[in-house]
């Protein structure tokens, strides 16, 4: 039999329905892979082997009767940001201690309701704040991809680095992830896989550990565009427990995959030529444009003049909202408590000093500063107005085109420590992805080629609000034209 772990999610679901193999067989195959690979790759921070086998057994019983949901029996990995009932959830922060939720996030519940099997919880940057997983309490995962003739360990990106590692290294069929400034799309680009952030509000945030509430959205990481569409269909729902979730029907996005893009108008924003961007990224972008033209799309030059202000606006909005959200970690109600000198204030201050890592503390201080008395208008309010400007740019552009094509990241995966210790240099990773978060728009990243060192590079398609369909159509056209079949050579 072929190696079950190398199947796409769609093929695995079909194979399970056809009883070519059982859920227990494929689940066991993944658990064996995790067992031999995880010490090196560090993708999983919790492996729920017993639970996985129980869920697989229940799925097999349903499949035997010809029943079951859209993902019946399919083993998935879950980013440690999603609360999972009875399974430790820490957002990879020390401050959550051994926190074990007594409830389930809506996104994961939707996946279980459709029959998926949980393999475990996946590594990430602490509270999703980071671009290389260097801030995880459990240490970072390792990218299965390496440069040609090099054994330097590279990052899988962040914050959903564990999810990307697990999908790229065949340690799950697909994974949940979340994206506040690029945390799904940048890891997808760094590991040669597909990731989509839907329109803000498509997926419920209930039970997702909060970072920046006006930007956070859940989405999948998967091996193909079709797999990402299948995952997203199941993950999204209106939810009465998240008042910002959209109560709209969830389209059958899998049906968009493979549809012709003939006659579609694709915008190319000139402002996405970043200073110092490697020539290879520019070349890849031009290649993407050529592919879409060949598939019958019309290419239109557009301008998004406020693009350069997106990252600075993000670094006001995100830390400000984080400083409010993370005020809940007080060492009293859950998580790890440190007593300090025994007083209440010292308990709070010591708990938070010891529980939060350096990057989280830095962002909480920035957030507290920009929200402190007298500064709200100058910083947060101004940044929210700049967001409106950024959204208006997109609305103008979308009068002329149906979707936008851009690079996904300004570079291929990098090694730990290669970015130095300047926080702003690390923030620039999200230069092409963060605009879609600020404007709340859907955006997908998919692999499009390899650089000279043999590392994957990705392109990004940004759609109109609620038009994930165009994202999937265009992404599938690029996937088809690129015929990206490269896989990391197994060294782990």
């Amino acid at each position: 039999m072929t190696d079950l772990t190398q199947l796409t999610l769609s093929d695995a679901v079909d194979g399970l329905k056809a009883k070519t193999f059982s859920s227990q067989e494929i689940t066991q195959a993944f658990l064996t892979q995790i067992d031999t690979s995880n010490e090196t790759l560090n993708a999983y921070v919790v492996v729920t082997a017993d639970k996985a086998m129980q869920m697989a057994k229940a799925s097999d019983a349903k499949l035997a009767k010809g029943q079951g949901g859209k993902l019946e029996g399919a083993p998935l990995g879950i980013k440690d940001l999603f609360c999972t009932k009875g399974v430790r959830t820490t957002a990879c922060s020390n401050i959550l201690g051994e926190f074990t939720p007594t409830y389930e996030s809506t996104v994961t519940q939707n996946l279980w309701d459709q029959g998926s099997v949980m393999l475990g919880k996946l590594n990430m940057d602490e509270f999703a704040m980071g671009s290389d997983n260097g801030t995880s309490r459990f240490g970072p995962p390792t990218n299965p991809w390496r440069r040609k003739n090099s054994n330097v360990k590279l990052t899988s990106g962040g914050s959903s680095g564990g999810s990307a590692t697990a999908v790229a290294a065949d340690l799950c069929l697909a994974a949940t992830a979340s994206d506040t400034g690029g945390s799904i799309r940048q890891p997808a680009a760094f590991t040669g896989i597909v990731g989509i952030k839907p329109t803000y509000g498509r997926a419920s945030r209930y039970g997702m550990v909060a970072f920046a509430s006006s930007l956070d959205q859940a989405g999948p990481l998967a091996k193909t565009v079709k797999d990402a569409a299948l995952m997203l269909e199941v993950m999204c729902s209106g939810d009465k427990r998240d008042s910002t979730s959209l109560h709209l029907p969830v389209p059958e996005w899998t049906k968009s995959v493979g549809k012709s893009i003939k006659g579609m108008k694709i915008g190319v924003p000139k402002e996405y030529r970043a200073d110092g961007m490697p020539e290879e990224i520019e070349k890849l972008w031009q290649q993407g444009i050529a592919w879409l033209k060949a598939a019958g799309a019309e290419i239109i030059d557009v301008s998004l003049p406020h693009t350069k202000y997106a990252l600075p606006a993000y670094y006001i909005v995100a830390p400000a909202e984080a400083s409010s959200n993370l005020a809940r970690y007080d060492g009293i109600r859950y998580g790890a408590r440190q007593s300090g000198d025994g007083s209440l204030t010292s308990t709070y201050e010591t708990t938070r000093a010891k529980g939060f890592g350096a990057e989280v503390q830095r962002r909480l201080l920035i957030g507290t500063y920009v929200l402190s008395a007298g500064y709200y208008d100058a910083y947060y309010l101004r940044a929210q107005k700049v967001r409106t400007r950024i959204l208006q740019d997109f609305e103008e552009a979308f009068k002329q085109c149906d979707a936008l094509l851009t690079p996904a990241t300004p570079s291929a995966a990098f090694g730990y420590g290669e970015k130095g210790d300047d926080p702003v240099a690390m923030y620039l990773n999200d230069i092409f992805t963060v605009t879609a978060n600020l404007a709340g728009l859907p955006a997908i990243a998919m692999p499009a080629g390899l650089d000279a060192q043999g590392l994957p590079l990705g392109l990004q398609v940004i759609g109109k609000a609620l038009d994930e369909e165009s994202c999937f159509k265009v992404a599938a056209a690029i996937e088809d034209a690129a015929a990206f079949k490269a896989r990391p050579e197994k060294w782990w």
């Binding site: 009293i332 209440l344 700049v386 959204l391 300047d422």
Partner: protein, 95 residues
């Protein structure tokens, strides 16, 4: 606007994070680096611009004001570092 050591001390206090004295100066440097970069937002003309709320206009959903949850004391306390007789235990706050 730039921050000094005293501002960092004040902000850390507001954020309830204990920052050792010797970290105040380096943190002021790091925060100033980020704040200087953020300053470029002042170039944007935002006259008459409303702050962003959402890309998809919608009415905030309303529901009947009825109790829809509760009687889960043990679940609420399940992850607390210290509990006693069904209560959270906190450091002494009243002399």
């Amino acid at each position: 606007m730039s921050v000094d050591k005293n501002t960092v001390r004040k902000v850390a206090r507001l954020a309830r994070i204990a920052v050792p004295e010797e970290r105040l100066e380096p943190l002021a440097g790091e925060l100033n680096g980020i704040l200087a970069w953020i300053e470029q937002l002042n170039e944007v003309n935002v006259d008459g611009v409303e702050p962003m709320t959402t890309p998809v206009a919608m009415t905030l959903p309303m529901r009947e004001d009825v109790i829809s949850d509760g009687n889960i004391r043990d679940q609420v306390l399940a992850n607390a570092p210290r509990t006693e007789d069904g209560f959270f235990v906190v450091p002494k706050v009243v002399e």
